[in-house]
């Protein structure tokens, strides 16, 4: 009887911590591993390691959907809901933006945003699929936590002259 009680206790504890962890990961911050080279050099290129970098993404920005230019965001791929992409936010709803490599300007529709990878040559992003609804965004990457040599904040940076001040 003793071992059975003991097992029961362990199961209960595990479940409790699992629930707590799940909630924290849903509401406050979560850990995501980034693979692929679309965000090189901010995050690692796929060739240098198999597992990719591990980043910390906060969720509290989702309460009000407040983002700023140059934030690195995690979002569900618009053409496959099972995949998560990590890209940089370039333009916010209602802004006029220069399309990269062309003189054209487009207006981002309400409730949408424009995302691009840092590595323009190897990135599948808004330049292919257009602006994405803000509702697809699942978090904002704030810190790099693995590998140890790169631990630190992920900074917000913005390619110049993309947003028109109109």
């Amino acid at each position: 009887m003793g071992t059975r009680n003991h097992l029961w206790l362990i199961a209960k504890r595990t479940l409790a911590w699992y629930l707590v962890g799940f909630t924290i990961s849903d509401r406050y911050a979560t850990v995501i591993s980034v693979t692929g080279d679309s965000m090189h050099p901010t995050f690692t290129a796929a060739s240098s390691s198999l597992r990719g970098d591990v980043v910390l993404a906060e969720r509290s920005c989702l309460e009000k959907y407040q983002f700023s230019h140059g934030d690195v965001v995690v979002f569900k791929c618009p053409s496959d809901y099972r995949e998560l992409f990590v890209k940089r936010l370039i333009a916010l709803p209602g802004e006029w933006m220069h399309l990269p490599g062309s003189p054209d300007m487009i207006k981002i529709p309400e409730g949408h945003c424009w995302v691009e990878g840092d590595n323009a040559a190897r990135s599948w992003d808004s330049r292919s699929f257009g602006p994405i609804p803000l509702g697809l965004i699942k978090g904002r990457v704030t810190h790099l936590i693995w590998p140890p040599s790169k631990i630190g904040r992920v900074d917000t940076k913005m390619p110049g002259n993309r947003i028109s001040p109109v």
Binding site: D26, D80, G111, G135
Partner: protein, 172 residues
Amino acid sequence: MSGFARRLAGIPWREIAGDAFSRVFLVAQAFCAVHVVNAHVCSFALVRGASMLPAMNLAGDVVAVDRLSARYGRVAPGDAVLLISPEDPHKAVVKRVVGMAGDAVTYLVDPGNSDASKTVVVPQGHVWVQGDNIYASRDSRQFGPVPYGLITGKIFCRVWPLKDFGPIDSKE
């Protein structure tokens, strides 16, 4: 004064702290359990507005939302779904799925005034959603196909008002 100090020392601080911690943890655990069930298994939503008449009332019905089917891709044409509005991420809307990726959807552009219709093919990973009341609904006819990722749940049952309690059936 020393009597007071002795009394203070006599209070079992350690047990009190342990007890307090276990109670706080219990409350936190309950909160977490509610969150997990609400976000990933099943929850309730209040539906208002005219866009889903007659399946859902104008005044506000409470419906049960199944979160699992959306997550595992078991949403089919005809299902009423809860989704994040592509035009305003703060808003959740209820619409009916009309076409899945790859389907050709024919719709009336301006149902009140003309018979003009249009046919579109839904792109990969997207769905076409429309309100049941095509005269008063803002849906894919205006904002185009929406990414599947915006769907947060499938509506399967009406909970309130009680006299209408029952499953909300899927219809084409």
